[in-house]
């Protein structure tokens, strides 16, 4: 094992995620403090958390009223022993999510395949690179907290031992992620290799199912997370045969003075980690090499251009071309799947809640909140996400737009139509499901459909402005599409736009609710109609204003083209 190689490879993987974005940079000088801000932040949060915990503990234990509490050290240690399992679980979830997003980036790091690097070194570097992401931040947060707390409470040895266990737990999680990543490469590669249009649908539906199952599990587990944490000590002991809890059991036994059991589980943990590493190496050797996809969409033969319906409904040749291109982009690019998945999840969650899958509530209950969620959220999110990403998704190929005779009006019209079309489809699907499931009155159904459509119109236009302003065309490691700060700015902007459109309905909604408590008070249909009309006018005004802004933004984008 050449440790220098491991170090260099790990540095490449880590640094590749920190490349500056959005600007045509000529030089790059890394600011160490800024580059490692998640780590510093985690450590600071941990220290503050430790101090607060110590303050609370001191206050509670100095209180004369509570004299029958177990000792502080006993309580602290009972928390320490569950931390390795918590760190392992959270690190695993985060690194897995990260890897799902980054799958395929191995193509950009293929250089390592022709360098004199062994698979052992490559695998270890990859594991460390996983570790140096969020897991190390989580570990730093916990360790700084428990060390600070322990300094004040005389438990420094136990804290140091727990710290060591937390680092090992994060390493264990990163190793498991590496194994799952390679398996994913293998699976995706297999799907890629099968040619034909069906391969795309298999990939799309497969990924969708994966996310849906994952989210269902996630919500199922997190709905009972409090009781799970409370019982984690017992759960760990009961599940002693699972390697994932061996680290926690090791420190638990050592703290109890059971050295033999501690030694046994520390040996088992070491064996398990070694096993994970060798399995990862084995899988990397076998499947790690990324193979570029070779999907055939159309059989070769006589080429017949399609005229399509876009031209017939008033779109120019340029606009139609961009819309068709974006449609293909959004059905074929893996990194854009998230945009579809979010609305689907938003339809599933309220349905599951209503069916009592996660909460145990009565099935089919027509909770107004769930009705609002299923009607408004999926389509609104679709409009927001599409608007924010439709410009940046052009990626490095944006030169094609710059170099083509595309006017700002063409660009805005095609992008806006595309996002409204997709969001309206989502609205119709989610609204139909909501109507069938919750059976609101005809008047309410029409009102909600109209209002959701008004929200979509306004959100689409405003989020497209955010998309223009924050467009990120870099594709290093993965397509970014929008800069983080603009994505964050987009949330309150869209919330305000949505609130502005729905505001006229507030008096009617209040009157409707209040009418069941206050005799004689009624919410008239006339008021509702007026509210909906005002809402529609507000939506159109917002849409028009942002549409004009978008055209100015598009002019700026095309004028300042820097390829």
């Amino acid at each position: 094992m050449n440790w220098k190689n491991v170090f260099f490879l790990m540095q490449v993987e880590r640094k590749s995620g920190r490349l500056i974005r959005g600007k045509k940079a000529t030089r790059y000088k890394e600011n160490t403090i800024l580059a490692y801000w998640p780590y510093w932040t985690a450590a600071i949060i941990g220290v503050v958390g430790g101090l607060i915990a110590n303050y609370i503990a001191s206050a509670v234990y100095s209180s004369a009223a509570i004299s029958n509490l177990p000792s502080l050290s006993h309580e602290t240690i009972s928390v320490f022993v569950i931390l390795p399992t918590i760190v392992l679980a959270t690190s695993l979830v985060f690194t897995l999510f990260q890897q799902i997003q980054l799958s395929g980036i191995k193509a950009s790091t293929q250089v390592m395949y022709w360098l004199p690097v062994t698979w052992q070194e490559h695998t270890l570097a990859s594991i460390f690179a996983n570790l140096l992401g969020l897991p190390i931040g989580i570990v730093l947060g916990f360790t700084s907290g428990i060390i600070i707390f322990s300094v004040f409470n005389g438990l420094i040895l136990q804290a140091l031992l727990t710290t060591l266990a937390l680092f090992v737990a994060a390493f264990m999680a990163s190793s498991i992620t590496e194994i799952l990543r390679v398996l994913q490469v293998r699976f995706v590669g297999a799907v890629y290799k099968s040619s034909g249009r069906a391969a795309i649908w298999v990939r799309f539906i497969g990924s969708l199912l994966f996310f849906i199952i994952f989210y269902i599990l996630y919500f199922y587990v997190t709905s009972g997370v409090t009781s799970f944490l409370q019982n984690l000590t017992q759960v760990q002991s009961a599940l002693w045969y699972l390697p994932l809890v061996w680290l926690a059991l090791t420190i638990s036994y050592i703290f109890q003075g059971l050295v033999l059991q501690g030694a046994l589980f520390i040996s088992l943990s070491a064996l398990f980690i070694a096993g994970l590493y060798y399995l990862a190496v084995l899988l990397n050797k076998r499947f790690g090499l990324y193979e570029p996809p070779a999907i055939t969409i159309q059989k070769s033969g006589i080429y017949t251009p399609k005229t399509g319906i876009l031209g017939k409904i008033g779109f120019s040749s340029v606009e139609g071309a961009i819309i068709r291109k974006d449609l293909r982009s959004f059905t074929r690019r893996r990194e854009l799947l998230g945009i579809y998945i979010a609305p689907i999840i938003m339809i599933i969650i309220p349905l599951m809640q209503s069916l009592g899958v996660t909460s145990g509530s009565a099935a089919g209950s027509a909770n107004p909140v769930f009705i609002a969620i299923i009607f408004f959220l999926p389509a609104s999110f679709m409009a927001m996400l599409l608007g924010e990403t439709l410009i940046g998704e052009e990626g490095q190929a944006v030169w094609r737009i710059y170099a083509s005779p595309v006017s700002p009006e063409n660009l805005v019209k095609s992008k806006y139509f595309f996002l409204i079309l997709f969001s309206t489809i989502i609205l119709l699907v989610s609204g139909t499901i909501g109507t069938l499931f919750y059976r609101p009155s005809l008047q309410n159904t029409i009102t909600i459909f109209l209002e959701a459509f008004f929200v979509v119109l306004a959100l689409g236009s405003s989020s497209l402005t955010i998309g223009f302003k924050g467009a990120d065309f870099s594709q290093t490691r993965r397509a970014r599409m929008i800069r983080q700060e603009w994505s964050l700015i987009g949330l309150p902007v869209c919330a305000l736009v949505g609130a502005a459109v729905l505001a006229p309905l507030v008096p009617y909604v209040i009157a409707s609710f209040a009418s069941s408590f206050i005799p004689g008070l009624t919410a008239s249909t006339f008021n509702l109609v007026i509210s909906v009309v005002i809402s529609g006018v507000i939506s159109l005004v917002i849409t028009a204003v942002f549409y004009r802004i978008n055209i100015e933004m598009a002019k700026e984008l095309l004028r300042k083209a820097q390829v």
Binding site: P293, I297, Q298, A321, A397, S404, P405, R559
Partner: protein
């Protein structure tokens, strides 16, 4: 309304912070000319070509293409120009045929012509049978062919070609060269940058040699020979003499140590 010049650059300058990529470049290229732009790496060739299409905005000076101001009438200029970038970043999620379809629609090529032209080009550059594959499965040469077809498809008046023959197989390279000659007879202007000096010597009516953002020499082969004081010499010797890099023996000897 076209001027006699296909391209006019007047004091065109491009700065990237403290780096001057192109420095007060004055250049005119006549309609129907095949013009070669040579220069060492980083001499400003690609930046110059990008300025012609508005892909890079000049920091100072003016750029006129086919009588149109690139900054004032960018869409009109683009409609008349075909561009092949050095590294074709093209929409990899489209198939070859879908990409060409997209390009033809963007330039408003009528449906019947679109079909005929795409079919002909695919056949000429031996992409038949692979046009239904997604571009991300193409080799660099195939991507280059798709880029070239997309530049020719709308019958542009001006072709801006950045290393157009890179990665092409000899047959396709020959076809492209012959095709550029044919286009010249129809009055199409071609501007290309290349590092393959034999191609520039064989293909170009005039050659401009750029160095450190400035035009070091300009003219046909005879004029360049005269400028470099190297009668009977080939372009390689002229290039190395003019760019001050002709004495390479010491470099090679140093490398051999």
């Amino acid at each position: 309304m076209y001027s006699q010049y296909a391209v006019e650059l007047k004091d065109a300058t491009k700065r990237y912070n403290e780096i001057v990529a192109v420095n007060k470049l004055n250049l005119t290229i006549t309609t129907g000319e095949i013009f070669g732009l040579l220069g060492p790496n980083g001499s400003g060739k690609s930046t110059t070509l990008k300025m012609l299409l508005g892909l890079v905005q000049p920091t100072a000076g003016s750029v006129t293409v086919l009588g149109l101001d690139v900054q004032k009438q960018p869409v009109e200029v683009k409609r008349l120009v075909g561009y092949v970038p050095e590294s074709p970043n093209i929409y990899e999620f489209l198939t070859g045929i879908e990409y060409l379809d997209f390009i033809a629609d963007i330039y408003g090529v009528p449906t019947a012509e679109k079909k005929q032209r795409i079919t002909e080009y695919l056949k000429a550059l031996q992409l038949e049978g692979r046009e239904g594959d997604m571009i991300n499965s193409y080799s660099d040469g195939m991507k280059k062919k798709i880029s070239l077809i997309s530049a020719f498809l709308h019958k542009p008046k001006l072709l801006i070609l950045d290393e157009p023959l890179n990665a092409l197989d000899p047959r396709s390279a020959r076809i492209v060269k012959e095709f550029l000659y044919e286009l010249k007879t129809q009055g199409v202007t071609s501007i290309m940058s290349t590092h393959v000096l034999e191609i520039a010597q064989a293909l170009c009516d005039r050659i401009g040699i750029m160095y450190q953002g400035q035009l070091l020499a300009l003219g046909n082969m005879d004029e360049l020979r005269q400028r470099a004081s190297l009668p009977q010499s080939g372009l390689e010797d002229i290039f190395l003499r003019l760019t001050g890099t002709e004495d390479l023996r010491a470099v090679v000897e140093e490398l051999m140590k």
